[in-house]
Structures are given as structure tokens and as C-alpha cells.
């Protein structure tokens, strides 16, 4: 369906994208995960035909976008990161205009607009001016505007930026419906929770390069640990995590304030030994729990930096 082959793009000395490759099949949702400035938007812009890559190519059903009017563009729907709506016009007038850009008019346009508004649950506000909408409603309408020409591939560039959790969930519900309809979604985000919830495959990008490209399960396998034992200590005076690291089955140990996080390969075998060692050495604790490592941990492991803190 979509093949991105080793695309690169530089602005002067700044390398925005360097040799990015991935593919997306019909009905698949690909998450482009990375911090701000990682090259996600540039990658999406190249796929949408807004930018030409310095090298590499993008194939949509085996064809390249060769000109501004190339019919291949009809297969793509773009949801830009910035709100792409006319505030002074109503929701319906906005959608009528965006449908006309794809030469859709009359009854066909009317049906497409009704369907899109139904999907994003804005039918009851169709004739209100967009400037009266909340941020979440605008985001949903921004999504609807990309669906009117029924594209096979939907490029979603951080579509939930700045919206409340309720609206975010509503957008996720919309995307899950589209996914069920067999649409291919390319979803850029720097929120690992979004990628974990929506994506079949996750392409992690950093400094314009792909650092990992796998399913969520596959990415977890890249980690040296499969579980984390989190222990809240009563006292940390004189406590040294290196002592825990020396225990059998333990692969990592990190102490932040009075929370000790111990990485282990097999939780059931390692946990009793760790807890016994703590008791035997006079380190009392008030709470113990286990955690699954998340994408944040994956990103940290792969890049040595936190996803949210990365610049």
C-alpha cells in the first residue's frame, strides 16, 4: 500500500530526515513515534507530496506522486498538525469546500459530508461556525475534512495536540472505526500511550533516523528486561542500588527518591530473592508492585534519552 524507501531531507546543514524507510499495508496503523524535531512531520510532508525528498522515494500502490495534480494524491488524506479550517465558515461549508477541492460536489458531496460529520459526532453542529467550536471539536472536524474523498491512506500528524482527554478518546474511537474499515493510518505522535493503544507497528525516529521499527511486542523484546519490580523503601540512607544489581537474575537497579526499580528477566524467580535480601540487610519497605516496561523504556534503552525530555 505505502512504501517509504530511504528518504532523506536536509535544510542547509540541518538534516531533518535521513534514510527513513518503512512500509504500511492495507488496514495497518503505523505509529511514527519520536520527540519534537525528530523528523516526523517532514516525513509525513514528503509522503503527502508537500515536500520533495533529497533522495529516496515514496510509493503508493507502487506509484510515485509525480506532480501537483497526480491522481495518486487522491489516495491520501492529510490531517495536518495545525488546524486546517476556516473559522468564519460553518462546519458544513468547510467540508463542502474541502470536498470540492477533490471535485466532489452535489449529492455525492452531501453524502460524504453527512458520513464524515456522523463519524466525528458533529452532525448537530454542522451549521455552526467553526469559531464557536471547542478545541476538541475542531480537531475532530479537522479529521473529518481529510475523509471526504474516501482516501485509502490517512496521514495523521499529531492529531490530538492540545485536546482534552475526552476529545482525545473520541478521536481514538474515530480512528479505530476507520481502521476497521480497512484504512491505512500513519500516525505521528510523541505520546507513547497513543502509539501503544492504536498502532500495529511502531517506527521510532530520533534525529531524523529510524532507530526501531517493529510491533509493540517486538519492541519489548529489544529490552534487556521483561519486568520491573518496583519497591517503595522506608529508608534510603546508606542504600546502594549497586548491591541489588549484584543479586542473581537482576539486570538493572535504579533508585529515585525512595523508589527502587529493579529490572529482572523472570519476575517469579527473582522477586523472592530481592525481597529477602532487603529484609536481611535491614531495608524495610512499605509497598511492592511489578510493572511492564513501556515505550518510554524502549526509547530510553534505544537512544539513551527520555522520550519526553528529548530535544
Amino acid at each position: 500500500m505505502l512504501e517509504v524507501k530511504s528518504i532523506s531531507k536536509s535544510y542547509g546543514k540541518l538534516v531533518a530526515v535521513s534514510g527513513v524507510s518503512f512500509r504500511a499495508d492495507r488496514g495497518e496503523t503505523i505509529g511514527l513515534l519520536g520527540p519534537n524535531g525528530a523528523g516526523k512531520t517532514t516525513t509525513v510532508s514528503i509522503i503527502a507530496g508537500l515536500l520533495s525528498p533529497d533522495s529516496g522515494e515514496v510509493l503508493i500502490e507502487g506509484k510515485q506522486v509525480k506532480s501537483d495534480t497526480d491522481p495518486v494524491k487522491l489516495k491520501i488524506g492529510l490531517v495536518p498538525q495545525d488546524m486546517a479550517l476556516y473559522d468564519q465558515l460553518s462546519a458544513r461549508d468547510n467540508l463542502t469546500f474541502f470536498a470540492a477541492l477533490y471535485s466532489i460536489s452535489g449529492a455525492k458531496a452531501k453524502q460524504a459530508i453527512t458520513d464524515a460529520l456522523d463519524l466525528v459526532a458533529l452532525s448537530d453542529r454542522a451549521d455552526d461556525k467553526v469559531k464557536t467550536f471547542s478545541g476538541g471539536m475542531k480537531r475532530r472536524l479537522n479529521l473529518a475534512a481529510a475523509l471526504l474523498h474516501d482516501p485509502q491512506i490517512l496521514l495523521l500528524d499529531e492529531p490530538t495536540v492540545g485536546v482534552d482527554p475526552q476529545s482525545r478518546n473520541a478521536i481514538f474511537d474515530n480512528l479505530e472505526v476507520l481502521k476497521k474499515r480497512g484504512k491505512t493510518l500513519i500516525y505521528t505522535t510523541h505520546y507513547m500511550e497513543e502509539a501503544e493503544r492504536l498502532c500495529d507497528r511502531i517506527v521510532i525516529v530520533d534525529h531524523g533516523k529510524v532507530v526501531a521499527n517493529d510491533t509493540l511486542q517486538g519492541l519489548h523484546k529489544l529490552l534487556p528486561v521483561t519486568n520491573i519490580l518496583a519497591i517503595e523503601l522506608d529508608q534510603v540512607d546508606g542504600f546502594k542500588p549497586e548491591q541489588v544489581l549484584a543479586l542473581p537474575e537482576v539486570t538493572s537497579a535504579e533508585l529515585k527518591q525512595n523508589m527502587l526499580r529493579v529490572g529482572v528477566v523472570d519476575l517469579s524467580r527473582a522477586a523472592p530473592g530481592i525481597l529477602n535480601w532487603l529484609s536481611a540487610n535491614g531495608h524495610t519497605y512499605r509497598h511492592v508492585s511489578s510493572e511492564q516496561p513501556d515505550l518510554e523504556t524502549v526509547f530510553l534503552t534505544l537512544t539513551g534519552r527520555s522520550l519526553r525530555d528529548a530535544k
Binding site: A48, K73, Q81
Partner: protein, 440 residues
Amino acid sequence: MIPFLALVRKDLRLWFNDRRAVIVAILVPIILSSFFGYLFGGQKGSTEMAKIPMLVIDQDGSDISRGLITQLAGEKTLDVKPSELEAARDAVRKGKATAAIVIPKDFGKDAGQALFTGAGENGASKPELGILYDPSHSAELAMVRGMLSGAVMQVVSKEMFAGNSGREMVNAALAKVQNNPQIPVADRKALRDLLGGVKELNERQDQEGAGASGKAGFSGGLSMPYVTREEAITSGVDVQYNGYAHSIAGMGVQFILFMGLDVGIALLVLRQTGLWQRLRAAPLSRTMLLGSRMVSAALIAGFILFTLFSFARIAFGVHILGSFAGFVGVCVAFSLMTAAFGLIVAALGKTPEATRGYSIMATLIMVMLGGAWVPTFVFPAWLQKLTVVVPTRWAIDGMDGMTWRGLGFSSAVAPIGVLLLFALGFGLVAVMRFRWRTDG
């Protein structure tokens, strides 16, 4: 065609939805053109001009100086008041009077002498009339100087030929001429005949005046030996100049250019938004994206011109006295030129903020040189020649030609052609230079 029409329709809706833009584009030029039109002659040239405030300081107190003041006070365009020297100087400095005339002591006597001999009494130079003037009113100074010359000639000659001091002076001059060996014999005879004739005329008038009171005799002095018959050459014999026709064209051109500038700035702003990405993601050609913007801007410009001239017709009686087709042609060509101007602003500008400043300056220069504020005929000759490279000059001249000048279609061909060439040139440069990508 569906996308093109949708793009044009959307631009028009957005513009008409923006009440502030509509008000600025229509109401403001109406107000300004009404004001300028009134200043520059108004409807049928009936506007009465303000009188020039002028002070007179009479240090002579002679019949001639009093006659001169009376003569000047009779001028319709002057508001003459007596004053003292220092007070007059202060009034002119403060702008309360445009000019002050200082009639020095013995002016009457010296002026009479100078009328016949070219010099003052006892060979002194000609007497001086002082004119204190406000340098910001140089045009009025020329008028004052002209009226003063006429008045002095009339009053002094009248006094010389018919007044008491004139008679004394003629007698004295006659005596001087008769006894002056330095004057050649032939010249002496001619002067003696002239002055003798004047003396004889005066004596006869005295006798006639004593015998038949009320007979005027020669008492008017020298006056202009002609009167003028003025005829404003407009589109017809009974058609008079309408100052509003020019001002509505000038202000219309100015504010339509501002609208064009806004179109360009809006394109620069649009390029930084998600809307631009969405438009570019659609299968639309660049020609369609820029062309639709040009057509919508031209339609808005045409609408503004139509509204302004409709208002001018109803309120000020501005009619298209020349070729209607020519007028429409000039308006269409100017509208297209404005739209292309907007595109070139967008093409050459980098950021909206930086572009706004220099494009406003460029617009104002075009408007000024095009004659939108004041007609180009008041410009120096070299500047009038220079302004033929300014498109607004062609637009305003074209509109003037088709409205109050009442010219035929052939006179509109050159303005239409030049404006279309500008539109084409601007459009081509805009398409070539426009930065389609947002990647700098």
C-alpha cells in the same frame, strides 16, 4: 472547474464575511473622496474658494494709498484688513494672515513720479511695496502679487491723470523736462507734448466739472485692456467639471490596492498554516491555486469600483460621459492588475510582518505618483513624464478620461493595454518566484 470555482467562492465569502475589510474598502474611500472632491472643485465646479486673509499697513496715508486699499478690498478673493507693521508680521508668522502689504511713506508721490520717469522723486529708485508672506502659501502669494500690480497701476494712473497730486506732479515734471538740457531735443519735445496733453486734459476736466457737475470725465485710471471669457473644456458644451469624478477614482485606486496588498499578505500567512498543507495535498495545480486567488481578488476590486462609482453617481452626479465599454475595460484591467500586485507581494515577501511594511510603502508611492491624491498635472514636468511607468497613473487617467473628460473608447485602449501588461508581468513573476514549499 469545481475546485477552481470553490476556491474563488470561498475567497469571496471570507472577504464579505469580514465586515471590517468591507468597511475599509468601501466606506473609507467614500469619505475621503467626498472630502477631496469637494476641495478640488466639487460638483459642477460650484464650490466657493476661501478668501485669502490679507493685511494692509498704510504708512503713507495719501490718496493713492487709500485708493489702493479700497481697490484691493474690492477683490472677491481677498479679505483685506488694516493693520500695523508688527501686528501684521506676527499675524503672518502665526498663519492668521497669508500676506501683509506695507505701503511706505511717500509711496503715492514716488509711485506717481515713477509712472512717468521710471524713477522716484529727485532721481531716487522706484518706491517699494513691502509684502510679508507665509512661505507655506506660495500659490496665494502669486495671486496677491498679480492683483496688487493691477490695483497699483489703476490707482496710481487714475491719480496721475485725474487727481490733485497728479496735477501737481505733471506740472513739476513738465517744468523739469523743459529745463533739462540733458534730455535730447526730440525726446524733450515728445515728453513736453505728453505732459502738456495731460495738463490740458486735467484743466478741461476741471472746467467741465465746474460747469456740469456729475460728469465723470477720465477718472478710472489705467486698467487691464481686456477681459477674459473662460470656458472649461469637458465632455460637452453644458457639462461642467466634477471634482468628485477624479477623487473617487483616486481613492478607489488607493484602497483597492490596499485590498490587493491584503490578498498578498493573507497568502503569506496562509502558507504558514495547516490550511496551506491541506490545499497543497489536494490534486490542484499551482496555476489553479494562484489563479483562483487572482480571480477572486479581481472580482472584489471590481465590486469596490462598482460600488464607489454607483455612490458617486447618486450622491455627486458623477457620470460616465465617455465610452462605457472603455470605462468597464479600464476597471477590469485595473482589477486584474491589483490582483496580480497582490500575488507579487506574496511571491517576493518572506514573512507577513516584514512584507507588510515595505509593501505599504510601495503602494503609497504608486498611489501618490499615480495622481490619486492630487492630479498629476500639478506635478513638475519631469515627474509627469516619470509617472507613466506607474500603473496607477494609467488607471486614474483612464477613469478620468471615461468619466468627466468624456473621451471615446480609443482613449481607453492605451490604459487598458498598459494595465493588462502590468497584470501579466506581475502574474508571471509571481508564479515564477512564489515559494510553494514551506521549507524555506
